[in-house]
Each structure stands twice: as structure tokens, then as C-alpha cells.
Amino acid sequence: MADNKELLESLILELRRGTLILTVLSQLYTQEYGYSLIQKITGKGMNIDAGTLYPLLRRLEKQGLLDSSWDIYENRPRRYYKLNQQGEELLQQLTSEWNQLNQIISQCLIREE
């Protein structure tokens, strides 16, 4: 039984991993810094590791989907990220892909007698 639980956890992790980028991009229409983004995402019920998110933000920026800037006027300097033009376009495409996928999978999951 313990094995089964472990397997389930690893499968869930894999399932979520694929949706991570879509989730992150979808929350960046307004600018966010690392920790505020974590709060925003977890506030919507999705768990995300800080150790996964921070590097991911830099990677998405490197891929040209996000713009970033330092805000040094707050009491703690923070790096803010926001979708740019290319990021928005890609997010829209990903979103429609996700919606289609969702429909298809819902169909697949209906148990036929």
C-alpha cells in the first residue's frame, strides 16, 4: 500500500509539472516578484516550490517570454517579472491548447459501460 501511495505522489507530481509553466505565465499579466507570485499561486490552490519557481522565472525570462526589472525603492530591493508581448501571445496559444486538452481528457475519462 505504501508503494502505491508513493507511486501516486510521483504521478501527481508529473501531472502537475506539465501545467506549471502555464500556471506561472497566467499569473504574470501584472508584475510580480518571486515570493508574491508564490502567494498568488498558492492562494488559488496550486502548490508550488520556491526552489522550482525562482529558477523557472529566470528561465522564462531567458526564453524571451518575461521582462524583469529591479525595484530598489522599497525597503528590500525586488526583482519584478511581467509577461511581454511574446509571452502574452504564447500564453494565449498555450491556453487554447489547454482548453482543448481539457475537453479531450474529460471525454476520455467518461467511463463507457
Binding site: Y33, G34, Q39, A50, G51, R76
Partner: protein
């Protein structure tokens, strides 16, 4: 607070210099935010830091996430081939060393069996370790080159595949090609080892009443250091080409072209060494039989014609390969 600084510096020490200060600033700020959140809920700062850092996990793993690099040396695509090649190369090296040392022992008058055995074990160990290291290095190189796009073109056939690319009928001749490749590969590796370690074994063995008195070298020992590397490169190209024939079950147009190029390179090196290398022992015939004019003529003839024979053999084999590629294109 000090723990955060230490944690962050543990992360960034694995990262490239140019991104270190940026990530340091950003990561520190994020961690501080997370700590603040916990302390504002009533937790002590010490506990909050401890909790946040353990949640962030091993600094090394976090650094890996930032690096976004392949965390493996040889990926799943090449691993099966890698295993096969490692086994065959290690086996061939071991076999080559065993043959070399057996011959040395049999014809040596003063080597003890114990001494030879110790030498054999030592050589096998060193040889096999080196063989594995080289194969690993080459495969890791292929993996990395592919990452930066040098080898991307090799994959065209994988991506642009259509049903038309299927051969007209089932190809059954592959097994013989692979065995041919294996034999050629083993032969090349063993020859390579003997050439570089026991050159003196290539010779005419002179016996006097059943005991070996002398091995008269076929090759020119005096300038060996100038031609051995060139000849080794030529053999290496052949070995890789045979290795591909042996290891890859389904030859594609690209692997066929690749082998053709390797054989061409090998041919160029062979031809150069044979024509300009002065690799044979000119005095071989005189040393075997000082008075035989016929033998001297024969040896002179042989030295000249071995070049012609090898050139013709190579040309034929390359012509066959070209024909196979043409036929493959048609199919």
C-alpha cells in the same frame, strides 16, 4: 540571518560568475520575504529561517535548477549503444593485450609465468579503464555537441520521416553487415593496440632448431614515432566506421554517408603514410637471407604493391558504399 547568507552563497558557488550577484540579491530577497511571512505569524526568526531553508532544500539541487543543464553524462537515447560499444571496446582491448602478452611470453626466453601474469593483469586493468574512459568521453561529447546543435543535422531523418522512407521490402541482410562490422572493428582495435605497444611483434620469426632466435621487423623501427600516429589515425577512422556498422541496427542515409566520409579520411591517411611514411624495414630481405636476390626483389615489389592493393581495396569498398547509398535513396 547569517544562515541565509551562507545558504545563498552555497547556491551561487555552483553558478556562472556573471549571474552570481543577480541571483544572490534576488534569492536573498525572496528568502527574507518568506521568513517575514512566518515571523509575522508569531514564529521566532531562528525557527522561521530554519523552516524556510529546509523547504528550499539542498543548495546544490537548487543551483542545478538555475543552471538548467543536462544532469547526465549520456542520455537515454545513446545509452544502449554506449553500453554495447563499451563492452565491445573493453573486450577487444583485453583480447589485444592478452594476445600481445601471450606472444611475448611464448617467444621470450627470460620471462617468468608469474611476472607475465602480473603484467597481464596490470595491463588489462589499465587498458580497460582507458578504453571505458575514452568511449565515455566520446559519447559525452556527442551528447553535448547535439545540445549546441552541431549534430542536429544528423537527426533530420528522424524528424522528416515519412512512410515513403520505408524500404520496399524487409531488410534481412543487416545481420551480416553487423557481423562484418564487428570483425572489422575487433581487428582494427587489436591491430591498433599491437601497433602502439608491441611493434616488434610484427616481423619474420627466425627459428634455429625449434627455438626463436630473432624477430626481424617488417616495419621501419627507426622512424616509428613519425608514422605510427598517422597510421593509428587511419585505423581509428576505420574502427569508428566499422563500429557504426556494428552498433546501429538500422542504417540511415546519414549514417551511411558518415561512414563513407570516415572511410575516405582513413583512405587519405593510409595512402599518405604508405606513400610517404617510409614505414617498412627496407633491409628485411637482406636480414633474412643476405644472399638471395630473388627475395630482395620480391620484398621491393611487395612494398611498392601493398600501396596499390590497399588503394584498390579501399576504392572498391567505397564504391560499394556509394552504390548502397544510391540504392537506399531509390528505395
Amino acid at each position: 540571518m547569517e544562515q541565509i547568507t551562507i545558504y545563498v552563497s552555497e547556491v551561487i558557488r555552483y553558478l556562472p560568475q556573471k549571474s552570481q550577484s543577480e541571483i544572490k540579491k534576488e534569492l536573498t530577497a525572496n528568502i527574507m520575504d518568506m521568513v517575514d511571512e512566518l515571523t509575522s505569524g508569531g514564529m521566532s526568526e531562528k525557527d522561521a529561517i530554519l523552516s524556510v531553508l529546509s523547504k528550499m532544500g539542498n543548495p546544490r539541487l537548487l543551483a542545478d535548477q538555475y543552471l538548467d543543464k543536462k544532469a547526465y553524462l549520456i542520455g537515454p537515447r545513446y545509452y544502449p549503444t554506449y553500453l554495447v560499444i563499451v563492452k565491445i571496446v573493453a573486450g577487444a582491448v583485453a583480447l589485444g593485450i592478452t594476445i600481445a602478452l601471450s606472444v611475448q611470453y611464448l617467444f621470450s626466453t627470460d620471462a617468468s609465468i608469474f611476472q607475465t601474469l602480473v603484467q597481464w593483469l596490470g595491463s588489462i586493468f589499465m587498458g580497460v579503464v582507458q578504453a571505458i574512459a575514452w568511449v565515455t568521453l566520446i559519447f559525452a561529447g556527442v551528447e553535448r555537441f547535439e545540445e549546441i546543435g552541431v549534430l542536429k543535422n544528423m537527426d533530420i531523418e528522424l524528424d522528416d520521416w515519412s512512410v515513403k522512407d520505408l524500404p520496399k521490402s524487409q531488410r534481412n541482410s543487416k545481420k551480416s553487415d553487423r557481423i562484418e562490422g564487428l570483425v572489422g572493428f575487433l581487428f582494427a582495435v587489436i591491430f591498433l593496440i599491437l601497433l602502439n605497444t608491441r611493434l616488434e611483434l610484427f616481423g619474420v620469426y627466425m627459428f634455429d632448431q625449434g627455438t626463436l632466435t630473432e624477430i626481424i621487423p617488417v616495419f621501419n623501427m627507426e622512424n616509428a614515432s613519425t608514422w605510427i600516429p598517422l597510421l593509428s589515425i587511419a585505423i581509428l577512422f576505420t574502427a569508428v566506421s566499422d563500429g557504426i556498422a556494428m552498433a546501429i541496427r538500422n542504417q540511415t542515409r546519414n549514417t551511411m554517408w558518415f561512414r563513407l566520409v570516415l572511410n575516405l579520411l582513413s583512405f587519405i591517411f593510409f595512402a599518405y603514410v604508405l606513400i610517404n611514411g617510409n614505414i617498412f624495414n627496407v633491409a628485411l630481405a637482406t636480414q633474412i637471407a643476405p644472399d638471395s636476390v630473388e627475395l630482395q626483389n620480391l620484398w621491393t615489389w611487395a612494398q611498392r604493391n601493398v600501396v596499390v592493393i590497399i588503394v584498390i581495396a579501399n576504392l572498391i569498398s567505397m564504391a560499394i558504399q556509394t552504390y548502397q547509398i544510391a540504392r537506399f535513396n531509390k528505395a
